[in-house]
Amino acid sequence: MVTVFVLFSAFAASAQHIPDTIRIKTIDIFANKIKKEDAGKTITKIDSISMIKSLTISLSDMISQNTTIYIKDYGRGAMATASFRGTAPSHTQVAWNGISLNSPMLGMVDFSTIPVYFTDNVNLLHGSGSLSEKSGALGGVVKLENTTDWQNKFSGRVLTGVGSYGTKDEFFRINGGNIKFQIQTRAFYNYSDNDYRFVNKFIADIDPKTGNYLYPTQRNEDSAYKNYGLLQELYFHPIENSIVILRYWYQHNDRSLPRLLSNETDNNANINRQTENAHRPVAEWKYFGRKGTLNLLVGANVQFTNYQLKTKVLGSEDQIAINSDSRSASYLFKVSYTYKFSDNLSLISGANTDFNKVRSENLPQNGDVQGYDKQRLDHSVYLQLSKSFNDQLSANLLMREDIIGGKSIPLIPSAGIEYHPFANQGYFIKSNLARNFHQPSLDDLYYMPGGNPDLKPEEGLMVDMGTGYEGTLRNIDFHASLNAYYSGINNWIIWLPTPQGYWEPYNMKRVNASGIEFNTGFSGKLYSIDYHFNGNYAFTRSINRDDPRNWADESIGKQLPYIPVHSANFLANFSRSGYHITWIWTYYSERFTTTSNDKTSKLDVLYPYFMNNIHLGKEFCINQNKLDIELKILNLFNEDYRTVLQHPMPGRNYSLLFRYDF
């Protein structure tokens, strides 16, 4: 009975769904004793200040501002992919309350489509630490969780914002219930004309008299975006020691990729548009027994995507050059059982079944439909033994066996160990070692044209070591951690053009990704000012160890394109009597656009990226409720910059937000 109570109170404690104020102490995040199940893993939890500062932005912006993951951003409101520890976008798995958001078609997640508002906790499991969640995350797992507050009777939040370039943000949340039953509804709507102006120095007309260049001032045309979604959750205690959770997330995205700066097509030509609809239902049942906990989950991630490249023809039907339609669905069944032999020994066993089905078609205006319709059934079973030897030493061992499309792949082991050299102090040393496999996506295997059914899975060997400290020093909550990792990845999948004019994936022999991650933060109070700092730095080497193609190949031993060697970010937040100011700084070092890391042309390198955002605000208390007014100044120094070659980015812009919590 005691165990059940402890489990319940732990569940309730982690379920503080709305931080009361932005001055909330972050100590609750770092003070937890190391769980033996997590021993050796590198886990980053996004703190509550960063969460509340990110409510109206996408997961891509939040991650680039608060973590060591590099986000490759194709423009405001456009696609954004992640590189975690120097790996490819498909190597970062995103798990939302136990279901994978990675499309089985592309293997990756577009982080720009995930609203931070729809999640309560964001945790990163770095590298080999992700194997307890799932296999295949060679970079790591971004874990998104939703929680509830069983004490809640009625509460909610309204958030409304207006911003530059005709941007409107609307968020709404309402929670109601009692100790037995909670219902939570969230919705968002987000629209932007996105038509910022810029001087385009990548094209010029020649002044017929002087011969000088005339650079045009342009607008970011045809880039409006509109996204909306609904998240409905039900939490229920049918009997005292079990919980049933039902969730359904619907989202619609409608946006485009900006045209390149060198583009001089007809204004009505080559307009691209991508429309997505996603449905994600999940049902979960947790049963807390005397010694064991049973967890059953069934869910689905169904995504419909339409991409069109078209030319508007005056007084006639649009001419559609590319019209590609896809339906990508994953149906997931998960069961796991945790048995506690004692406080110092536990065993977790689990099994997952994923049924993935993709239909992808390109429907040209003239000619045959090209595409594929394939499915794959994947199973995974695992067993994890975790032990605390004493208060200072914990270790765990995990074994996972995957059966992918009927073929079993070699056993995946993972081992972690963590040691606290000084009793009752926050110093720690930890290490983790694992093997991992990542399966090709269904597009990799079957895309028409180019898909390569002979692709081998990517195979990684990963080592992780870290040290750090967390605790309180003279009323200052302080934490710092330093990690070093090495991942040798064989059969790395890369898409390359072919002489036939289409792209084809192939297995590179090997990529070695290694690096250092440093995170620190402190918070406290000084002269009645609450302050909070958090900073990250990553050094990333992601090195091509393929066989040279011939004597002329200069890519071997070089950094992979678009992966910065240095990346850093910093957040500082001060508040006093309701007034608050937050400064967010993000930095990436130069990124190469070629595999040979050439620097001969200006197009070979993207210069280092520095971004400064400032938020200023005031919180008012009205009866029991709170009103917060915040002004965000983005790109404070009005920098002209690129994150991807030739994609225009906005200058200084503003956003005004009103948040009302009741």
Binding site: A321, N366, P497, L526, A552, W585, T594, L645
Partner: protein, 353 residues
């Protein structure tokens, strides 16, 4: 660790030092030097799709000298996204930038940008009919655009209903033959006096390359398209068309797994080359394609080829991994290597000056 007000101020000030130095102006610092371009060959480097890193190189075979990035270095502007082809007319060079929807016009003596034709859709190739008229094919537009190569103005269009893609062009007398490549199997015949489509010739799947031999026969290389999943119904082929009767006279079938590309003809008009893994050669009077390539691929993935019309020397390009500067091999007409040099990303087309 005693934190006081001064310390915090210092931390904040130090961090502001890290702010801001991303300057597009630095990036675009114009050189506007003019390159001196003697007799030789322009190499059009496609660059990566959606990267906008196409570039122009120039090779002087007499001195064995290569100049890279000449458009950017001379003009302070990037060439654009996916440079497809180039044609020279009256000492001006017309560079077709496929995914930028434009044609840059340069002075071929010094590489200077003198004008541009903009407002196109997805242009592929340009063919000069006379001093006032040129045709531009397009991958998606469903029309051939007519332009004036002197004024750079669009003067009209030839609609090609049911053929979104128009590709390469070759002219015999007043008739222009146009291959319809993407998802198509047609060669259109256009009367250049009336700008009207006068005939359609059905070919194998996806006819791309188009050349005219010394016997007034037109050759086209059909890459066979892509097999539908689970089928192997591709028949890539080389076909010969009589220009006068506008009918197919002969088809040379290749194997179902062949991926042929880049048909070229020598200056004398009697010998064809194309890439199919290795480099294959076919005399225009030959009855069959042999079993062995003229040059084996060895450890090369050949991307493009061209034949110098005057010397019959062969230029082969290898894009290596397509994400670094590619290499060009210059060979004698018999295939002996004369020189090799690096140019830009994905060297795709050649234009002899």
């Amino acid at each position: 660790m005693k934190v006081n007000r001064l310390n915090i101020t210092l931390i904040v000030l130090t961090l502001f030092v890290f702010a801001g130095c991303m300057k597009d102006d630095e990036w675009i610092k114009s050189h506007r030097n003019s390159a001196l371009l003697p007799k030789g060959v322009f190499i059009i480097n496609e660059g990566n799709f959606m990267y906008g890193n196409a570039s122009l190189s120039f090779y002087d075979p007499a001195k064995r000298e290569i100049q890279n990035d000449i458009f950017y270095n001379t003009n302070g502007l990037p060439l654009g996204d996916v440079a497809q082809s180039m044609g020279i007319h009256n000492s001006l060079g017309y560079i077709v930038i496929n995914n930028s929807g434009k044609i840059y016009v340069i002075d071929t003596s010094d590489g200077k940008y003198v004008g541009k034709i903009t407002g196109l859709n997805s242009p592929r190739y340009m063919h000069f009919v006379n001093n006032e008229k040129a045709y531009i094919t397009d991958l998606y537009a469903g029309k051939i655009t007519i332009v004036n190569p002197i004024t750079y103005q669009i003067t009209g269009a030839i609609s090609t209903p049911n053929h979104a893609s128009t590709e390469q062009m070759v002219q015999w007398n007043n008739f222009l033959f146009v291959s319809c490549w993407s998802y198509d199997n047609t060669i259109l015949v256009i009367d250049t006096r009336t700008d009207a489509v006068v005939n359609e010739i059905k070919t194998g799947k996806q006819p791309g390359g188009l050349v005219l031999d010394k016997y007034n026969k037109i050759w086209t290389l059909c890459d066979g398209g892509w097999a539908k999943s689970g089928t192997t119904s591709r028949i890539p082929m080389l076909q010969r068309i009589d220009a006068a009767t506008q009918t197919i006279e002969k088809s040379f079938s290749l194997t179902a797994d062949a991926k042929p590309s880049r048909l070229a003809i020598n200056g004398a008009g009697d010998s064809l080359l194309f890439i199919n893994d290795g480099i294959w050669k076919l005399g225009v009077n030959q009855a069959t394609i042999g079993d062995h390539p003229f040059l084996s691929s060895a450890n090369h993935l050949y991307y493009s080829l061209a034949i110098d019309p005057k010397t019959s020397e062969i230029y082969l390009s290898d894009a290596i991994d397509y994400m670094q500067r590619g290499v060009i091999y210059r060979c004698s007409s018999l295939g002996a290597r004369i020189d090799s040099f690096k140019t830009g990303i994905i060297p795709g087309a050649f234009c002899f000056k």
